[in-house]
Every structure is written in C-alpha cells, then in structure tokens.
Subunit: 578 residues, 2 copies
Amino acid sequence: MEKILRIMMGPEDKPQAIDAPLGDYAGSGGRAMTSAIVAKEVPPLCHPLGAENKLVIAPGLLSGTTGAMSGRLSVGCKSPLTGGIKEANAGGQGAQVLARLGYAAIVLEGKPADDTLYFLYINKDGVKIIPDNGLRYLGNYDLVDRMKERYGDKITVISIGPAGERKMSAASVAVTDMELRPTRHAGRGGVGAVMGSKGVKAIVLDDTGLRMRPPKDPEKFKEANQTFVAGLKKHPVTGEGLPAYGTNVLTNVLNEAGGYPTYNFKQGRFDGAAKISGEAQAGLETKRGGLATHGCHRGCVIRCSGVYHDKDGHYLTKQPEYETVWAHGGNCGIDDLDTIAQLDFLDDNYGVDTIEMGATIGVAMEAGLLKFGDGPGAINLVKEVGQGTHLGRILGNGAAVTGKVFGVEHVPVVKGQAMPAYDPRAVQGIGVTYATSTMGADHTAGYAVTANILGVGGQVDPLKPEGQIELSRNLQIATAAVDATGMCLFIAFAVLDQPETFQALIDMINAFYGLNLTANDVVELGKSILKAERDFNQKAGFSAKQDRLPRFFQTEKLAPHQVVFEVKDEDLDTVFNW
Amino acid sequence: MEKILRIMMGPEDKPQAIDAPLGDYAGSGGRAMTSAIVAKEVPPLCHPLGAENKLVIAPGLLSGTTGAMSGRLSVGCKSPLTGGIKEANAGGQGAQVLARLGYAAIVLEGKPADDTLYFLYINKDGVKIIPDNGLRYLGNYDLVDRMKERYGDKITVISIGPAGERKMSAASVAVTDMELRPTRHAGRGGVGAVMGSKGVKAIVLDDTGLRMRPPKDPEKFKEANQTFVAGLKKHPVTGEGLPAYGTNVLTNVLNEAGGYPTYNFKQGRFDGAAKISGEAQAGLETKRGGLATHGCHRGCVIRCSGVYHDKDGHYLTKQPEYETVWAHGGNCGIDDLDTIAQLDFLDDNYGVDTIEMGATIGVAMEAGLLKFGDGPGAINLVKEVGQGTHLGRILGNGAAVTGKVFGVEHVPVVKGQAMPAYDPRAVQGIGVTYATSTMGADHTAGYAVTANILGVGGQVDPLKPEGQIELSRNLQIATAAVDATGMCLFIAFAVLDQPETFQALIDMINAFYGLNLTANDVVELGKSILKAERDFNQKAGFSAKQDRLPRFFQTEKLAPHQVVFEVKDEDLDTVFNW
C-alpha cells in the first residue's frame, strides 16, 4: 500500500494509468483515505456525474494482512444521491487483494471523451485499461463469468451492473466474495453511478504471486490478532448470534421492540416478521443445502453470511442481510423469503442498493403503483430498473426521486438517502444518526441500536430523547475510525463491551505500522474524518436544516408505542460539538 | 379587499370556507401578501405537498381599481420545485375580479381526507365548495368550457390541469383572460401541484353586481393614472416594441447579443432565430386573422399579448411569449412557429410552466431521448406529461428531476428551477439574479436584461462582472415592490427611465389608500419582502451555496463571445447586504 493508482479517463487524452506517491495521504486507509481525497480534490459544488468528481476505492489500514476481519473496501466520491460526500464500504475479497497489490487507493478521475466502456485488469505486472463495449448492460453475475472465462478463477472483481452504467443514484459497486460471486456491495449513495460516469464497468484484480503484507513487528501482531479473535468469539453477538442466524437475527428483535418499520414506516411491527426472521431463514437455508454460516472474505471469524438456495436446491443468492430482508420484506408488507431472496439476487445483479430499492418500492406502493404485500409486483419493479425503462429509471434513482415524481409526501429519507431498518421514533438514537450523519440516513454511521435495543455498550431508553445525542456522537466517531482500518463494523459489538478487545485492535495497528497509538488517538482519527466530511458537505450547500428527519416523524405517532421522534432540533445541532 | 378567505380542506373535517380578518396582513397585496402569509404560517421544513403547506392567491394593492396595468395575481406557497418560498404571478382577469369580490387573499389550507376533487364558486353572495370528481384530469380549456356551461360567460376561472392534479413540480395555475381562455399562468415553481395537493381543481369567480374599488381621493387617483398611462405610451418599449411584437420582440435582440441560449445552453446564437422572432410571429398572426396586439386583462394599455391562429385560421393558442418561444424553440433547436404554438397550447391545457417544460425537453434531448430540432418528438413528450405516463411524470417534474433520472450533467437550473431565456454568461447581470433570487432561476425577479442589453435604466456591459451585483440587487428590490402592487412588471421599463412615471405610480397608491408614501418607502417595501423570503429559505435549508449557478457556466465558454460567468461567489453573497 505504498502508492495510489490514478486512472485518468479523459476527456482530452485516452485513458491512462498513473502510479502516484501517497504524499499527504500516507497513513490513511479506508474511509479516512476516501474522504481525504474527496475533500481535498473534488470541488464541493461540482456535478456528481461530471469530470470533476472522483471515485476513490481504498482498502483499510489492516487490509491485506493476516489480521482477522480486515476485508472492508471503502468507496468514496461526491454522492449523486445526497449531493454530499460519500463513503460506502463492502466486504468480499476486494480490500485484501487490492492491498496486496500495493495500492492504498484507486482513483478514477475525469470523464471519457465518448461512451466507450472500459475495464481495468491489475496484477503484479501492472495495470491495463481495456475498452470492451461487449460488456454493456451485463448484470454483475454475467460480467464476473465473462472475466472468469478470460482470466481464470483466482481473480477478484469490483464492478457495476446496468444501473451503474445508466448512472442511477441507487447504483452500487459490487465486490466478489470467496466464491467469486458479486454479492458484497458498496451499496449506498450511488457510488456505482459515479463509476458508471467514468466509463469503467469493472476492475479485475489478481494478486497471484503476491504475499500477505508483512507487519513491522510480526510477533506482537500475531499475538494481538489472537486476543482480538478470542474477544470476537467470546461476545454473544459476534460469537453466537451473527454466526448462527446472520444479520437477520435482528428481525425478531426489532419487531419485538416495536421499531421495525412496516408498510413504508407506517407502523413499528409486522405481522409476518417471524416468517422472514433470521431463525426461519437459517432453517430454510440448511434444509435446502445452502449455508447458514459463511464468511464473505478470507480472514473472517464472525461468518455472518450464508448461501440461499431456491426450492430446487440451486444457488439463488447469498443470504440476504437483515436490511435487505426488511427493505423488501416488512417495509413492503412482503412476508415470503423466496420473494425476498429473488429481489436480493436482482438487486445484486443489476447493481443497486437493497436498502434504497426496498424503500423505493415502499414509496411506489404508497403512490399506488402496486399494493403493499405484492411480491411478484415488487419483482417486476426491480426488473424495470434492470431494463432501464422509464419507470425503472425513476425507481433506480431512489426513494426521494420516486416520491417526487409520483407526488408522495411520506418518503423516509434524509439528505435524499433512504432510511434503513430501524424506525427513528422507536429507536431515537438511530434517528439522531440518520439526521446528522454526513452520509444521509445510514445506520452504519453510528449504530445506536446497540445501547438502544441490544444492550451493547450500555443502555439508553430507545423511546426517549435523553442520552441519544451523546450515544450517536460517540458511535459516529468510533465508526469513522473503524471504517479507516478496513475492519468489519461488526467488531464493534465486542470492542464496545470488552476493553481488552478494543486494546487488541489498537495493538494490531501499532504492531503492524510500528506506531504507539492510544485509544485517544483512535478517537481523534474518527473526529478528523467526520470534520473533513462535514466541511465538504457545508461547502456543497448543506446547512443544519439538512440534519433533520422528514416532518412526519414528528407529527405521526408510531404504533405500538405511539411515539414521535422527540430529539429537539437544537440538540441535533450539537452532535458535532465535541 | 377587507378580508381573507381561508378554505380549510381537512383532513379532520369536511372542507369549509372561513372569512377571516386581515389582521397583521392589512396593507399587503400581491407578493407582499403571499410571502408574508407563507413566511408566517408555513413551517419551512414541511413537505410542500403536505397539510402544513398553504397556497395563497392574492391580488395586488391596486387590483380591482380603474388603475391601468393592475391585473397581476400572485400565487404563493412553499415550492415543490425549489423547496423554498415561491411567488408566481399571472395576468388575466383573476386579480381584478378577486379584488372586487373583496378578498385580499384566498388561502387553501390543510389537506382533504380523501381524493375527492373540489372546486370553489365565489360570487357576491358568498363561497361554495363543491365536490365534483367529474372534473378529474380535464385540461384547462375543457374545464373552463364546463364552468361556462354551468355559470355563464361572466366568470373568471383560476384552475389547474392534469399536471397539477398529479402534483407535478412543473405544474402551473391557470387564469382566464378577457375571452375566458385559460392562457395566463402563474407558471413557476409548481404552484399548481400545491393546488392539486389541496384537492382544488378550480376557483370560479363571478363579480357580477360588484363595482370597481373606490379610491380615497378619486380625483388625484384619476390624474395620477393618466400621467402613468401617458408615461407607458411614451416609452419606446411599452409604447411601441411590446404592443407591436409582444414579448417575442426579444428573440432577435438576444440572439444578436449572443445571449440566446441554444441547444440546452450550448451556444448563444440560434440559426433559426429569425424564423421564430416576434416580427415573424406578428406577421403570421395578422396574415391568419389572429391578433398581434391584444391585452390579457381589462385595463391593460401595453397590450403585449396576441392571438395565434393555425394554418386554417382557427384559434390555436394565445400569442406564445418570448420565454415560451425560446424554451420550446431555440433551446430545443426548433425553428417552427406552428410547432411552438402547439406546444404552448398543450402546456396551457395540461397546466405546466412553459419555461420549465422547454428546459426539460432540452435536457431530454441532451439525454438522447430525441434529437435537437425534433418538433413532433417534443409535442409527443408534452403529451406524455398530459397523460401522466411514467415518462410524462418524469418530465412534468421539471428539468432537474429529468436530468437526475437520465443521468445528465448539463442541466440549467438554480435551486431546482429551470433558467429562462437569457444565458448568464452573455448577460451576467441576469446570472446574478438567477443565482441569488429567492425564487430559483427567474428572470422576472430582477430583470437585468434592461441595463445589460436593452439600455433601459442605465447601461452595464453584459459580458463583464462589474456592476452586475448592484444592478441585480436594485432590480430585485424594485421588482418585489412592483409585485406587491398588482402592476404588470412591464411598467418597469417606463418607471426605470422616466422619474415622472415612477412618481405617478406612487401617487396612485397614495391617492387610493390615502397614504404619503415616498420612493424610499417603496424601496423599503421591496427589501422587507425579500428579507421575509430569504429568512424562509434559510429556515428551509438554503445556504449561500444554493446561490450559485451550475458549474458548467464557469467552465464551458459560450459562443459567440467565448465567455464564462465571471461574477465571483463572494460577490454573489453580497447581493442581500444593503
């Protein structure tokens, strides 16, 4: 990770690859890297799909090492969905392989002179930029098959589907997993549209002949990693709940808590929740010969992923995540796991964010295009997105645009980005994160569900405003730092509850880089990332008034608790005062 | 004008009409009235289509009197297009009749409990709120015919077409002219969508049996009015250019100046300009038995309107305005007046803003949906809007949404509202108005074309940044004040150049109301209106960063002058420092 690969796409010259020194960006990884480059190099008022925007793809500080859980790949840019800065990260093999290839980041810059479609092929011998219009509008699965035929099965593919090529604001960037399936997505904020605007369909990585990145102090690193792994295995969430049932273990939990947004955020409980719960899903997967426990990248010890087979026992999709099951499930009134799995496959194949798509279909249901609960109708809508019909283009640009086009008032977005699977009225801490995050509504930016619902990292009453600001603030800071390491965010459960696991993480970084960071340095890192992102957003035109939930969360009571979002505006404005 | 009519549409109760006292709003008219009510009563962060927004319809201070030119009707709300405050005004008979009915404003409030469609009938005996789902999706022309059958031809109709019913952000509010044709529109900012969200299809006014509003000092009023009219007749723009050729007299002028935005703001001159100029249009109208000179309301002495007949000599539409001819003409590369006239008719009938629709079709052409110059294709697109197809819903929500849905970078909007017919690179003063107006890109908010191009009210080099801030600032202040009087903005040509005409306007107000206003009071009125609007917009989330043109105006040179927009950001931020 001693260099940055800059791909200049034009328009003046033919696309070319330049190996650039790290310069000011030395020591940055993941979200710290993507946000630093975007904040420094992208004019905040530029058009997200124009030549001035840049797409930055960066492994974390510990990616490509033998450290467990270090497989997150950050993708950053100015977002076409929110208009602000964006970092979305994905699991899969991308971060590890890119780091071993020596790149701290790939930056796609400029804009091609014409609409030729390109892909990159990167191995130990260098970088090739290859025009190939034959890839046009391929789904991610077919695209990967094409690349496998050409380059064998030792590759990792980072790609966009037709949604990204059509520059839809819900378009994701897909990353292949250990089985070379394009199932892990940097989903949020339309990062795939920016990749599409650069004319880049795929980045094919091959680290054959390259070794794990060596730590400065191998012994200390190994020891810290062992302590870290032991901590993850010991904690009930990362050692039991997530491996057994995946993220979808949350369906029953949130439904029970009355914070499961149902029928486009109309109520907090869904009658069909049990039918689509993680428990039901794991049972079905096992019965059909899929996998209920599975890792998305080498070095994962939590293994919250899985493999979902259809009724005939054939691979259909990876185990849909909780957010996906909710977005296409309870949010749309759909209680059938096979329907949800098909939607998950279509989303992955076309390359769209499952959260945004589920929220969008909920808005389309609200608009009367189809009825809540209409599974086949929902599948047809996502197919429209894949085909790029006029309706598909509306939906593929997300819930806010869909609401605007169909004149719908009840649209659950912040900064144009759809809310995830936690109603902010019944989980007020996550409401603070939705409202104030630099990313738009994003649960991963400060996962207050921990102390609000799960009793992890303390306890804060989810139905009351008290304590939520501080909770969200601290989580947003910690998350930004974790997102810089390349670590999967799920380590946070153990890190929040077990001081020795947090220390082990710091020890890993110190042993690897020969540093002496303290917990305080980690906090400062998180703050500095958030500050750079907030500054960018302000220059892009956001004021405090964008740090708000849609009005209906203050005016419409949520059943069963009959609550509204009660955190005051003036308190929201203090989240970034530290 | 001693009361306000508040129509409570629900949702708790059946719609009901309440006569309310003027209270704090006494002495306000037109834009001063609409902006005061919106600023005071509408939560800035509410959804524009929700129950909390209000649609305010207000005649000007001098409407309903014998004063010349006092026929503008202001329509205000929180805009679904810009997200900020909105005032759009229209000619036609509405202001006069409403004022004579005694109403200083009609305010549509709340939201009906179901999707029943209503219309209001107001005469000297009172107000009726009549449910009539048979009106659904009627075009404005058919709607007016229906009302004529029912109430005779002494009525004035304020209405929305299918675009407003579908809550499209480009939807206008139509007002009938002297011939009871729905040809005058409060076009900008989606005011028609807000009327649609209130479930009100039409407001039918009948002032039979009511008299002109009496001045406090009839003699002085008459005298001032005579001086005022003489001033208008004397000035070359209002006395010669506008009567002879209508607003479209500007086509040749702007094209010559190199500021005529062509092919979606790609160049500043259009080869086909002469074919669609006001001179060509007036000739054609006269030849076919239409009218090249015509007033849009009783009391108009400029008479810049006209009547456009088709090839067979039958009425097709009113004389398309310069902005319309440009939007559907040069901006789309269309040089055929009959095509443009058909587009104008369709826009009026469906109830959409001609500027927004023309700009939107330009963006659709940019996106490759059809070729520049494709007149039949453009007509088909507008028909899609009228039919409410998926494509029509995209287009009907304006240029910004259309650009977003189709991934287009080159979208000429400010605050989400499409730019009118003057390229801000070649007419830099109007660029300052586009950027900073509280309304989004709006030429009427501060018509710097005067001193930049027409040599009215001084001379400021249109290609240079010097002097543009002051020019735009003063015009924005003056315009806000004029918009409060109910006066047609075209009086400004004479008022700017002839001190005695300006004084006559002040004398009219003083004589009518028994006041002693000075020129300075008029300036203060304008400032106070702008201040209320700016405050609202800030609370709605606008920062200085929304007071900017799209980046391409700074990066792409405009032929023939090879200029970019050169007014500095920090200077734009001083427009409202007075």
